[in-house]
């Protein structure tokens, strides 16, 4: 037992000298480390809003329903009556799946100036529908059904779905 105790004492003294360059993984009570965490320091004063958690509202509703059974004078647990209807993109609203043969529909999402498909912030489609539209346009162009550098003249007067001047989300252009 004796030799082991001596070696431990020696190693302890060695580490106390070089405490400033110690590995944070080994920060224990034996070693006094001077390691300062860099990432956890707050560098700005900006306060970000607390996100509204849907789970809290559900929990509240449950609690109120339980208490309602005990005492009749409490607020009733019900859905938010002022909740706005959920926004749906135009293709999901009408239940349309873009097809590579339906070039009239695909041209509505194409710019009349460049012939390129508009991005999601201008078309206002959800992620999956935008992907479907882009894939269909690519397929149509490769098969020789649709043009890749302009919008055909016969489709220029079609109803406008995308307005680059008034996008759904701000853009840098």
């Amino acid at each position: 037992m004796m030799p082991i105790v001596r070696t431990l004492a020696r190693s302890r003294s060695m580490f106390s000298l070089s405490a400033s360059v110690v590995n944070p993984a080994f920060s224990s009570s034996i070693i006094r480390s001077n390691y300062i965490p860099v990432r956890g320091i707050k560098t700005t004063d900006t306060m970000h809003p607390d996100p509204v958690y849907d789970e809290d509202e559900k929990v509240l509703k449950k609690v109120l329903e339980e208490r309602q059974q005990q005492c009749e004078d409490l607020p009733i647990g019900m859905d938010n009556p002022y909740e706005k209807p959920k926004k749906i993109c135009i293709l999901c609203e009408h239940g349309i799946t873009p097809n590579y043969k339906n070039i009239k529909l695909l041209y509505q999402f194409v710019s009349p100036y460049t012939g390129m498909p508009y991005e999601r912030h201008i078309t206002g489609l959800c992620k999956q529908k935008q992907e479907q539209v882009e894939k269909a346009i690519l397929l149509a162009v490769n098969l020789g059904l649709m043009s890749n550098y302009l919008k055909e003249v016969e489709f220029l007067k079609d109803p406008k779905l995308c307005d680059p001047e008034r996008p759904f989300r701000p853009h840098k252009y």
Partner: protein
């Protein structure tokens, strides 16, 4: 057998020759154990962009849609046949799959970034990475590497 649609663009030809070219295409499908469902004429119109095929530049063509079922291996054979046919300007095959029901996620995407689920997940992932510490698992009370 999976369902396919073949788009065929034939060069500007007289009617009997167009019929001959289509007959050639359909016999190819039959010979390779395919089930033909129908041919649709999408009309003779100007091509959206000039296409060069078999030493000629084409500006107009006849579009045809062939609906058929065949095994996946015969598509390669058909592609090869169309490639060698002089009357064919462009050919392409599309696999027809059943449509999937998608739930619109536009409402979630239009929220400000602090309220979006994917942004929350990203922040959590970032926090998880910061907290990661190397676990030496040597079983010793001291640091054998002296760092």
């Amino acid at each position: 057998m999976p369902a396919y649609e073949a788009i065929l663009i034939l060069k500007k030809m007289a009617r009997p020759e167009v019929a001959k070219a289509l007959k050639r295409a359909t016999t190819n499908i039959f010979n390779n154990n395919g089930l033909l469902f129908g041919i649709e004429n999408l009309g003779h119109r100007a091509l959206p962009y000039g296409i060069s095929a078999h030493g000629r530049r084409h500006k107009e063509g006849s579009y045809f849609l062939i609906r058929f079922d065949s095994s996946t291996t015969t598509i390669e054979v058909l592609k090869d046949e169309f490639r060698r046919d002089i009357d064919v300007v462009r050919n392409g095959f599309v696999r027809i799959r059943p449509e999937e029901n998608i739930e619109c996620t536009l409402d979630e995407e239009m929220k400000p970034p602090a309220y979006r689920q994917d942004v929350k997940d990203m922040i959590e992932e970032g926090r998880r990475r910061e907290k990661y510490k190397f676990q030496p698992k040597t079983g010793l009370e001291y640091n054998p590497w002296r760092t």
